[in-house]
Amino acid sequence: MKEILLGNEAVAAGAYAAGVKVISSYPGTPSTEITEAAARYERIWCEWAPNEKVALEVAIGASLAGARAMTCMKHVGLNVAADPLFTSSYTGVNGGLVIIVADDPGMHSSQNEQDSRHYARAAKLPLFEPADSQECQDMVLAAFALSERFDTPVLVRLTTRVSHTRAPVALAEIQEQAVKPYQKDVRKHVMMPAMAIARHAAVEQRLVQLGLDSASGGLHEIDLRSGKLGIVTSGIASQYVREALPDASVFKLGLVWPLPVDALRDFAARVDRLVVVEELDPVIETEMKAAGIACEGKALLTPLGEYSASLLRRDLSGQPDPESALPREQLEAAPARPPVMCAGCPHKGLFMALSRLKLIVTGDIGCYTLGAINPTNAMDTCVCMGASVGMAHGMDKATDGEFSRRTVAVIGDSTFLHSGMTGLLNSVYNRSDSTILILDNSITGMTGHQQNPATGRDIRLHEAPAVDLEALCRVLGAASVRVVDPADTWQVEQVVSEEVARSGVSVIIARRPCALIPTGKGRPENAVRLDRDRCRRCKACIRIMCPALTAGPDGYPVIDPNSCNGCGLCVRVCRFDALKRGGEQA
């Protein structure tokens, strides 16, 4: 019987079957579950690296040492890893090297909607694009074979819908892979100009060979039906094509880069009209046009968001959608459920304090980015991992120090270790007066609780060395390093006020574990209780937007004892002493 696997789990299964020895990754939705699933195979060395650049470098080292190696990241992670990516194209591999990159069309959980296929073109690397879980496994296996055959790193591009869909997989046979002998090869592995000049020529030649090989080795599927309409497509878009356009002839690409140009030209000759269906950017379309193959694409179909069968019917076939039994127009609109900080979230109190201080806040990537929206509205910027620290310094210099008296950078523990540390070093070195708040919740929260170098556990939850954040910031040169409890909003306000006024770089570590880390304290008997006689229905507690505390029909707050974790934030904001922590006398 087949297994039902997430696309991400199937990637891990493919890596296991391919005999992968080393996987190093940094978590990022929608790629995170690949490395988590791989960690269940004991034979594979799996690790969380502090960032994607380090992760890819680990994988390159493992590959050159002779083992099959893999790294997995989300699209924006590949930007961080782009430096080693481009030059690993020149060094080539010893053991197979595969880089998994998961794009997020529709931005379910991302700060941009970039199309990572551009990296394949730019770094001159082959790229596979699976369309379901079975292909995730099979194309990872094919990617390792291609990597060793052509002496190249290979990209496998996923999208959220493939990563997070479960589908049947016939598990592949396990290939035993011995670690290949290591050979010192300065001309191939030391990329300085004299050697790199020769390697660039080899890379160009390899790309031509890959293009020629693609027609037979690219795992393409050609399905000839009607001659009226032909579709060239790949990945998840191919599934919507088959759904919406059952009569069309379809050339479904497996290897999306480099294209099998001659095979596509033959296909084009068999149809009256040729349309390229690809989510996001016109990568395939542009290349086909450059090769002189007439086709349509983005003139008909949007470069924005995810596609669907319905979208293709509307824009390509004009076929009507199925009729809904309960059309939207006939129903009242349902109030939205935007994401909010959890009950007991340590970030909530911190942002309440920042909001009261009316500071400029340069923000960063994590759950705490929610501080930018209601109820605190206490964040001015969010660009990329680690940006908060450098941006606060830039604001300081742009205003000759004026902004540093009313600006803080806010960054999580994992994000700080990812790429905030180098920003701190820069701020110190270049005599900044900026203030940096590290929100240390003892976990990588947003992606679903992964360990990091500060948590004291590795990916398999074994004990691991934990970096001492205070010592780290001191040794990087911070003039002041203080620790506060973010639930104590008054203390936060006081310490932040003092530190923004201080010259030199200040670091404040707001330390309290994520509310979703089980502590045993979140029991109903520890929930906050209401003293109705004292409550004046002022709604101060309602305004903190805690999911465990809502306004009842009579205006009194209602506390859900199953959701409340007893953090006491609402108790602190109540001026009438009407809310009591669990265990206190009402």
Binding site: M1, K2, I4, L6, T29, P30, E33, H108, S109, D132, R161, H164, T165, R166, A167, P168, I236, Q239, Y240, R242, E243, S308, A309, S310, D321, P322, E323, S324, A325, L326, P327, R328, Q330, L331, E332, A334, P335, A336, R337, P338, P339, V340, M341, C342, C367, M446, T447, G448, L516, K539, I542, R543, M545, P547, L549, T550, A551
Partner: protein, 201 residues
């Protein structure tokens, strides 16, 4: 035996839609069908609206159930029924748990939780769909845990399906650890039985 089924599981983070989707994947395999279970991760623990699409057929392509396509909408609370009702196909079945999870905007008094959702759905359906409300949360509690509300909903759906019940009961044992199997088997039976009572069948 069924040959094709498109359904959506609509709930709020933490209500068990992901586990229910996983279980239906097992059901499809046992029924000899291809299957896709499409999940939305990331915001699941943060009080967000969570939807899982399940499609089974001899060959499934798109993992997404689109408007007017769902044979079943299983809504784990009332507001989510309203939000995703438009996915229901003509002659489809919408099963709604009567519980309410109050969204933040309503909790803060900025929006209103719609009342009489079941009646509104009946009226909009105008005989083109089967709409049934049940107190799945109570049935789950009686079976041993409120967390089994997802399995009560699957039991209710199974009443309408031509799938041998032991396909579901085997899948429950596949998906849950031993100590939770009893509760979930009971929850499944409770959901199945309540639909029988209501139809008088």
């Amino acid at each position: 035996m069924i040959s094709k089924l498109d359904l959506v599981l609509a709930g709020v983070g933490g209500q068990g839609t992901l586990v229910a989707g996983k279980l239906l994947g097992r059901v499809a395999l046992k029924a000899g069908l291809d299957v896709r279970v499409s999940e939305v991760h990331g915001m699941a623990q943060r009080g967000g609206s969570v939807i899982t699409y399940v499609r089974m057929a001899p060959n499934v392509h798109s993992p997404v159930v689109e408007p007017g396509q769902a044979d079943f909408v299983l809504a784990f609370e009332q507001l989510e029924a309203l939000r995703w009702a438009h996915l229901l196909a003509r002659d489809g079945v919408l099963l709604m748990n009567m519980s309410r999870v109050i969204p933040m905007s309503v909790g803060m008094g900025q929006a209103r939780y719609p009342d009489a959702v079941a009646a509104a759905l009946q009226q909009a359906g105008d005989g083109r769909a089967v709409i049934r409300a049940l107190d799945a949360t109570r049935l789950a509690r009686e079976a041993g845990s409120e967390k089994a509300v997802n399995i009560v909903m699957l039991g209710a759906m199974a009443h309408f399906l031509d799938i041998a019940p032991d396909v579901f009961t085997e899948a429950i044992d596949d998906v849950f650890p031993l100590k939770l199997q009893g509760i979930n088997q009971k929850a499944f039976q409770a959901g199945f039985a309540i639909m029988k009572e209501n139809t008088g069948a």
